[in-house]
Amino acid sequence: VKFTDVAVEDLFEDLIRLGRGEAISPRSRVHWTISQLYDLCENALSGELIPRGYRPDQLSSTALHEQLITWIRSSMNDALRRRAMMFEQLYAMKKMAALMPVSAFAETDMHDAIHLAAHVLGAEEILVNFPAAGQPAAPPAPPVEQSVATVAALPSRAAPTTAEPRRPDAARQRSRRERKNKRRK
């Protein structure tokens, strides 16, 4: 799965709403979302490393995963290694979600997956918005736009091979306004 920026925004907006307790993810969405979070992280990490000579569309997803880990292992950058550790953990979670019965995969696991993804992506706003298991509920979340800004500041990803047309800014703003108004109602 390749993500357009619009899809990323929508995904994070959904996740932040979940974190605020505005809606609870139906169990069936857990697999879908962890998978998406993983792909998102893979794209973000490869965006940092691809300039070294590979393009993601030249590699299968598995080869890309293994290449990323090999690159990061040989890197002297501890921060990148930490992100790789969490990326691997997110992949393990994706595998577990696929193997286990849906009912065994709890809301807590979803929270864990979001936290891991946020650390891999460096999206601190997500962490602020998500009350951790074992922690009191987070203070009121900042406006969604701030989180989206954080996502927008992520390292640039390589151009997707099957890029969807990006909605014009005005249309995106309008659709976000519409969603917000709908929530208020």
Partner: protein, 268 residues
């Protein structure tokens, strides 16, 4: 007879409570306290009953109560030592699993040696239980001798041990595994309450060994623990041909909060 019936009913009640315990969620603190209170009550009424003691250890460790869990486990071990071991083999194996989770290596090793060296024939289910405990011990504490020993058996623990050995051998990590696990244990040992491992395959790629440490640590502190783990691994793998992060891509470490992730308010 009525005493035996009553004891059986109590055991069934506690077993049902343990089942409920596994399904608790983060806002189920009130129910957790009820379960803990009920099991403590049963344990006080029948202090020599191993099952109630084990239930209490599991209940405490599940919510991240490291010290209380260790104290109750020490009590269970004393009880086991007073009883005739052949009657308590399954409990001894369970005590090893709990001791592995709570990081009580010496106590776990002592019982494990006793269990693995028993010459008497055992029920297959009992042997399964012992080998699962043994392989958990071997992976958590990097004990290659126990890992090889269990790997020679045909139990599910044996299969798990062989898979773990295969992953470590192919990754060139076998020799450094004891040092790696000792280094990891210095970081997570004081806060861990349960341990699990799981081998899995990357789609179309290599095998990975997932090590999960359930701890009493809040998520905000996990990142700090990952940094400490990396620093610990760096020392172990400094001379490794693949460099100081040689385990990356072969061994995946997962640090989780308590098995039952009750919020701080719910635990109060």
């Amino acid at each position: 007879v009525s005493g035996a019936v009553e004891a059986n009913e109590s055991a069934q009640r506690v077993a049902a409570l343990l089942n409920q315990l596994e399904k608790l969620k983060r806002d189920d603190g009130a129910r957790y306290r009820q379960i803990l209170w009920s099991i403590q009550g049963e344990q006080r009424r029948s202090p020599d009953e191993l099952f109630f003691r084990l239930a209490l250890v599991r209940t405490l460790s599940a919510a991240g109560h490291v010290e209380d869990g260790r104290r109750e486990l020490r009590g269970m071990i004393e009880l086991l030592q007073r009883k005739k071991l052949p009657l308590s083999l399954v409990y001894a194996a369970q005590a090893v699993t709990e001791a592995v989770g709570l990081g009580m290596r010496e106590q776990a090793y002592k019982f494990l040696q006793l269990l693995l060296n028993m010459q008497q024939p055992m029920e297959p289910a009992v042997l399964e239980r012992i080998h699962v405990s043994a392989v958990n011990f071997a992976v958590r504490f990097g004990d290659l001798e126990v890992l090889h020993r269990v790997a020679a058996s045909s139990t599910s623990g044996g299969v798990a041990a062989r898979t773990a050995l295969q992953i470590l051998k192919e990754a060139g990590l076998l020799e450094s595994f004891p040092a790696q696990q000792a280094a990891f244990d210095e970081v997570v040992g004081p806060v861990a309450t349960r341990f699990q491992f799981f081998p899995y395959r990357v789609d179309g790629g290599g095998l990975r060994l997932l090590l999960t440490y359930y701890t009493n640590v809040e998520r905000a502190r996990w990142v700090g623990l990952y940094d400490d783990l990396l620093a610990a691994a760096r020392k172990v793998y400094l001379a490794h041909p693949r460099g100081p992060a040689a385990f990356l891509g072969h061994v995946v470490v997962q640090i989780a909060g308590p098995y039952i992730p009750l919020t701080r308010e719910e635990l109060a």
